[in-house]
Symmetry: C3
């Protein structure tokens, strides 16, 4: 799409690596090993991609020194310690930038809102009372920034995002399309067979460098705030209920639900499709594999699971039949009884032999 | 945020309780026991919060008479039978109200639509042919109210909601941001290796006092209607397929999917992340715990489950290995065989003793 | 709603069937057997609906020849080989059509975009640079069509849809409300305790006759594209991660998550609430039942499962206790040990008898 290029030497310097080969080789983009052409750069993410790399048509390769030594049929390289990180850095070089600044004429902005001159406010954005939008922040079309919401600097808010509940966002926050931040938490007092709504009075506080995918829901707190600390990353279609607290640099994969008042520590990785029950505490450095269900506190860091992988359907049906019997089978006694009976038999046998 | 206040005596009267202490104590809001300050009111939701309550800085406490007796270091109370309900009622007193009325100049409203004078229609709302919006209903910015949709009185429809499929909403219905009501059900006739779309001709009928969270999908029926009876409450990211019928006052937690033509009774509680297969009937007063999967009718009220809680990962792996063996282990026979063998051994032993 | 009618004879010809009865019977719509009235047509989808059909008030019935023979209390029929398919075809005859063409005055369209004269662009739609919208395509209100997105002919894009990431859509594609196509994939390089964003440079390619429900997320690829082949159908609230490839005519039910770089074959059926881990390959003609979790490649077509159906809660609790013991019970050895002990006992018995 773009005809802009970078020279091999320049790219090496962007990722603090060494180049090998033709310093002025012109490279116009990144591509996968399979699809890369002579004007493109590919990265080799470990030994298992060496065969693919050997037959790749890429103009140059991002590699470690040891990978480079294995690729003697190629001539142009960027040598770094961490090719995946170098690749991550270079995606920013080649991505299409949003350069527009200013406020589209169709945006509706309350006079009390403060919008930085360097921000961009797209078509049909609606911004309420006392809102703040920081420097170089991009707010795409159709967003709703409700009263008292504040957004820091260099944020990216994609189309159709709803920010409400007086949410406060830090700097460099990215929120993808159609996500809702600060909507009302699911709080009801049951009384005489009906549900009595508890208006939610808390807010949502989002730190710096937080990333939230598309179609997510992050609810405002009931009294205190829902809190996402710095560096939290969240995939698509994730539910974060009221009064949840997510520790710094925790990652949550798609379609996970975190129920109300859960506290998750720092540097956790929550697999996709997981569900965490309300009012639980999860320690730092916890990894949950996909489709885990958490119903108790987790006080030790480590890896935990409860999702069951696939069975052939007929075998699965027979397995579930057994599972339905399991409650009435005293499993731990079985082994003990077997051991006891074994002793009895052996005792009988030996007595029997003695009396021969 | 607000400088408005209520006197202790006034608050007691709002929740039909008794005040103890200083009648004219000024209270400006609700807060949690931990964070409350002298101008705020906190509630004590049972004995287990007594320690927190004793050390709280709140100006006054909502309590039962027996809780009050335990808090002799404090002086100002609202005494009620049900503090949680009183708290729920007071959240409405202290929440920020939407007071605007009328139609924003940027809203696009079909001439055949009937909008109550006391309604509020936000910026960039689009309202189609023959729609109705009732008294005191708030429709926030960017909503799409498609042709033939009718909304009752005192409803709240948050931003980016899509109401289509000629949906009919009762009174006091609340629909949170980015939810879709009345979109096309997932109906296809398979024929010669392709899927043939079945245009959906039914609608969605929503009763009074229904609450639907953000990012939910409620599909219109194929021929008959999808029905949500009075008082149903639904959390975020919930799927309600075509021709589902939800009984009055049933509650559904986040990320649940209810498949087509399911009927759920009244006063049910469906835990988060559950999935209910198509064409099933679920009785009144059924509770499902989190991540339940329903594949058969439930004819008896009661509590049901199938979600498995977390294991340490290595133990889980060994558990799944056993689970994969389970189909071929005749569990119920094991115990019987053990019993039989025990008899045989005892018989051998006794015969043996007799012959000594 | 509509007063238009079709004669029985006309309807028979629309579905290439035979009519029996009154050729000029006027029919105004389709209805279910229970609710149909004399001016409506109902279909009988097999023997199990015969009792309902006999007591139905429908004016005419879509049936097979053998079903017709069983319904001698009725007089008007459309006889076809496949009543369900005929019904699917007729829903299109009776559905309300969107007849508006042209561009609403409030739409914001970049001068470089090419919009077919026969397309409809709704209120407050925003269309970016170099976009294409094909003949007879309907784009409902508030959609965001971001730069370089291309949409084919006869597509239907409902309100609040976000199309971004330079996505390319084929012909007759239907995308329901509030869905996001082409948003950024969830790619981060971990380094020194932080997540480093990988800007996503690939796109999304969607074939002809693809259907995507409401509130779905389909992410753009990291380098290569995310691909949905012709005839794929997807229900609501489904996550399709970056670089997924879905084979032609595969169907995915609601609330399923397909993780990054998964390839699913043709003609698969993925049950609701399923989750498929990253980088897996699934063969053609695979069926997954509801709430399946896939953690390994599936190389054989067939039916697979791992979701557990419901238990009464107390029994479930006891079952989970046993499940937690299962890792330490040598299941396959148990049966072998029982067999061994049985032999020992029998040997003892026979020796004993011999010596009597």
């Amino acid at each position: 799409m773009s005809s802009q290029y970078y020279r091999l030497e320049e790219i090496a310097s962007l990722v603090q690596g060494q180049y090998i080969g033709q310093a002025d080789l012109r490279l116009q983009g990144l591509a996968s090993l399979e699809s890369a052409q002579a004007h493109q750069l590919a990265f080799v993410n470990g030994d298992k991609y060496l065969a693919q790399a050997r037959s790749s048509q890429a103009g140059a390769f991002i590699v470690t020194a040891s990978l480079q030594a294995e690729l003697d049929n190629h001539h142009n390289f960027i040598v770094v310690d961490n090719p995946y990180l170098a690749f991550a850095i270079l995606t920013h070089v080649f991505e299409r930038k949003h350069t527009q600044r200013g406020i589209e004429s169709t945006a509706q902005i309350h006079p009390s809102a403060i919008i930085a001159d360097s921000a961009y406010i797209g078509h049909y954005v609606v911004i309420g009372e006392n809102c703040v939008v920081g420097d170089n922040t991009i707010v795409q079309s159709h967003c709703k920034i409700d009263d008292f919401v504040e957004i820091g600097q260099q944020c990216f808010i994609d189309s159709h995002v709803t920010l409400t509940g007086a949410a406060k966002l830090g700097h460099r926050v990215r929120i993808h399309a159609n996500t809702v931040i600060g909507s009302e938490g699911f709080g009801f007092a049951p009384y005489q067979g009906k549900w009595h709504r508890i208006a939610q009075l808390g807010s949502v506080i989002i730190g710096n460098d937080v990333r939230i995918g598309s179609n997510c829901s992050v609810d405002r707190g009931a009294l205190n705030d829902t809190i996402l600390e710095d560096g939290v990353i969240i995939d698509n279609l994730v539910q974060i209920a009221h009064n949840v607290k997510l520790g710094a640099h925790t990652a949550i994969a798609a379609k996970t639900a975190v129920a109300g008042s859960v506290t998750i520590g720092k540097n956790c990785i929550i697999g996709g499709g997981s569900a965490i029950s309300g009012h639980l505490n999860i320690a730092d450095n916890v990894t949950l594999t996909g489709m885990s269900m958490v119903t108790n506190n987790i006080s030790e860091s480590g890896k935990y699971s409860s999702g069951i992988g696939l069975f052939e359907n007929q075998k699965w049906k027979r397995t579930v039949v057994r599972l339905r019997q399991l409650a009435d089978v005293p499993l731990t006694q079985l082994v003990k009884r077997l051991d006891d009976m074994q002793s009895q038999i052996e005792s009988l046998e030996s007595t029997f032999k003695l009396r021969k």
